[in-house]
């Protein structure tokens, strides 16, 4: 693979980079081992134990049982129908359907449960380490480091993280589209009874909605693209979508951006502010607040100048010369200030995101800090 244009053109540099990666990996492993030897204190008071592991997730068992009962209810059209309703089983009742859920608990709760286990009844809910979730935290931490390693250079660990995230996310959005769109909006519209019985018992439907055939038909035409012979039919759904949204966006943008933004300009350029006096009677004219008035008037004028000059910058059919050129130049200045402000504001959010990732590594994985009392 060519390495043109990067600091790493040279095979010796390349070799040195590979050696460096090995060293970094060794250092990381050594630090993890050290972390395990040091251990951390879990729980408080008498229940405190020293735990040499870290990045562990603890769960508590919770049994759920359900019983059903038959009843007759009046349907919307007045006829009586048999309904089977489910409710949680009362203590002592034998459930018809049951399963176990596992809820996350803190390390402190786990330590307390370990201590109390000796004299607790056999039916007390089990508190234990969840290995799938612990493995998850470790996997997440290693993937976090793998992505960060891209800053150093493209490398096999990053490529692994990349192939995992592409596969998972493509699958994820397809599943979300299936359960959140296809099932309620397509199956729920065209075969409501079947959908209600097998997929979405909470579906409320007033019968078959024939409008559901429109997207189904468009979808079938689109899938024609899979066959070379009828592939040309696939442009009709595209034309439908692009045409539809061209119409919708045309109206929306003129209404909510063009007209509404012009409307915001109905602001006076001269503003007179009065000093706010505590308890002053409204009828008594308070003295003029000169600083406030001049500031507000100046702001209004600067906003007007800005809007007009930036708009002037966008004129395409006139050369930017003479008065228009000068106005457009002021417009560019306004744009640059806008961009600088936007940039400055965004930095804050980006650093917060990075901080959140570091917090995950230090808190959930390495147990170095504990701001929320989880362990």
């Amino acid at each position: 693979m060519s390495q043109l244009g990067t600091p790493m053109v040279d095979p010796t540099v390349e070799r040195r980079a590979n050696r460096m990666m090995m060293v970094i990996l060794a250092v990381v492993c050594a630090l993890l081992a050290l972390r395990a030897v040091v251990g951390s204190s879990v729980g408080s008071g008498d229940a405190a134990v020293t735990e040499h592991g870290f990045g562990l997730v603890y769960v508590q068992e919770s049994s759920k049982g359900f019983v059903s009962e038959q009843s007759t209810e009046k349907a919307a059209d007045g006829t009586e129908v048999e309904v089977r309703r489910w409710k949680p089983a009362a203590p002592g009742q034998t459930p018809e359907i049951s399963w176990t859920e596992w809820n996350e608990v803190t390390a402190g709760e786990w330590a307390a449960a370990q201590r109390a286990r000796a004299d607790a009844p056999a039916s007390a809910p089990l508190v234990t380490v969840s290995w799938p979730r612990t493995a998850g935290v470790w996997f997440a931490a290693l993937m976090t480091l793998a992505v960060l390693s891209f800053l150093w250079r493209d490398n096999p660990v990053y490529k692994l993280a990349e192939s995992v995230v592409v596969g998972v996310s493509a699958g994820y959005w397809m599943i979300v589209a299936t359960w959140d769109t296809l099932v309620p909006k397509l199956a729920g519209a065209l075969v409501p009874a079947w959908t209600k019985a097998h997929l979405m018992p909470s579906l409320e439907s007033a019968g078959v909605d024939w409008w559901g055939l429109v997207p189904l038909g468009l979808g079938m035409l689109l899938l024609c693209r899979l066959s070379a012979r009828v592939s040309w039919l696939g442009i009709f759904p595209l034309a439908f979508v692009v045409g539809t949204f061209a119409g919708l966006r045309f109206v929306q943008n003129v209404e909510s951006d063009l007209l509404a933004q012009v409307a915001t300009m109905f602001e006076p350029l001269v503003v007179v502010k009065h000093q706010a006096l505590a308890g002053a009677d409204a009828a008594v004219a308070a003295p003029i607040d000169w600083a406030g008035s001049i500031g507000a008037s100046l702001s209004a004028v600067l906003i007007l100048v800005g809007v007009l000059s930036v708009l002037a910058y966008f004129f395409f059919s006139l050369e930017h010369k003479g008065a228009l050129g000068r106005t457009a130049k002021v417009g560019v200045w306004y744009l640059m200030i806008t961009f600088g402000a936007s940039f400055g504001f965004t930095v804050m959010g980006r650093i917060a995101l990075l901080a959140a990732r570091f917090e995950f590594l230090f808190d959930d994985w390495l147990w170095l800090i504990d701001p929320s009392g989880k362990h």
């Binding site: 600091p7 960060l148 800053l151 150093w152 959140d180 909470s202 909510s256 509404a260 915001t264 806008t338 402000a341 936007s342 504001f345 965004t346 930095v347 804050m348 959010g349 980006r350 650093i351 917060a352 995101l353 990075l354 901080a355 959140a356 570091f358 917090e359 230090f362 808190d363 170095l368 800090i369 504990d370 701001p371 929320s372 009392g373």
Partner: protein, 303 residues
């Protein structure tokens, strides 16, 4: 870089491998996190007018006012926005307002339950259905906002657990958006605060009285929201800084001086330490970059 031995220090600095900058940023952010995590100390915050405006808008309402909170964000933006959501709910709880929580972002619905449980938790004076309700997620973006404006029960026929609104005591008398006393939106993008102004708040003006509106927004979105303050919005919390300022206002009201504030109400303030060092690094980099630039230009002119 040994290929140009006669190069000046500044010129070499100009061609610095950007990975050194990456390393500096990593240290500037990670260091303070550990420091704050170990010592538990945070920086003091003074509220800017937009944040004070948001605080006052909620503070000003009489006890038991109806507050609609829209959680329009997902876990990806929770780093910036969760402290705001927690702060708003905490403030409403202190003022004993009635809380109506909803979301227009599908991934936002679990966040409502978690936030309400975290803040209101075991407060005996807060009973579900009487003092707070979780209305859950409704698909349809600004369509829902328009619907909420004219017919609230049609937009939200039941709460997140499927209970019809008619059976929820605190929903009595809520027919449309303007029946609420204030609207709070914590949003990470579309649909969010901007759409609430356009489709939710602006129409209430034509109905006679303006619905007070307070927004919490990410750093990226804040510049787009600013044009609406203070006319359409009573206040705005911009990015983690806004959240930290608001947190300190609410905490000052909640606890006496010297009393320890629970860690969950200081999330944003804790995150300001990495911000401080990160911003300082950025400012330093811009300065150094320009020193290099001017030095290079003078040298160029001299030759």
């Amino acid at each position: 870089m040994s290929d140009r031995p006669n190069e000046s220090f500044l010129a070499r600095l100009d061609r610095i491998d950007r990975r050194w900058i990456f390393l500096m940023m990593a240290i500037a952010v990670a260091g303070p996190i550990i420091w704050v995590g170990v010592t538990g100390r945070t920086f003091p915050e003074t509220a800017t007018p937009a944040v004070q405006g948001a605080f006052d808008a909620i503070e000003r309402l009489p006890e038991g006012s109806k507050v609609l909170v829209s959680f329009d964000f997902d876990p990806a933006s929770a780093g910036e926005l969760q402290p705001m959501a927690t702060g708003f709910i905490h403030h409403c709880q202190l003022r004993k307002h009635r809380i109506y929580a909803m979301t227009l972002w599908a991934p936002g619905s679990p966040l409502i339950g978690a936030t309400l449980a975290d803040v209101i938790g075991n407060d005996p004076s807060y009973r579900y259905g009487e003092n707070f309700v979780d209305l859950g997620y409704q698909a349809g973006n600004e369509g829902v906002m328009k619907q909420v404006g004219v017919d609230f029960p049609k937009a939200f026929p039941n709460d997140s657990k499927g209970t019809p609104l008619a059976r929820i005591p605190m929903m009595q008398g809520i027919t449309r958006l303007s029946d609420f006393d204030i609207l709070i939106s914590v949003s990470a993008g579309y649909p969010g605060g901007k759409e609430w102004v356009q489709y939710g708040v602006s129409p209430t003006l034509t109905q006679g009285h303006r619905l007070p509106f307070v927004a919490g927004s990410t750093g990226v979105q804040t510049p787009q929201m600013i044009p609406y303050y203070p006319v359409q919005m009573s206040g705005i919390l911009g990015a983690i800084k806004g959240a930290a300022e608001y947190e300190s206002l609410v905490n000052a009201k909640a606890s006496a001086p010297g009393e320890t504030v629970p860690a969950k109400y200081q999330e944003a303030q804790r995150r300001m330490a990495p911000q401080l060092f990160g911003h300082s690094l950025m400012v330093g980099l811009i300065l150094v970059g320009n020193v290099i630039f001017f030095a290079g230009r003078r040298k160029g002119a001299a030759e």
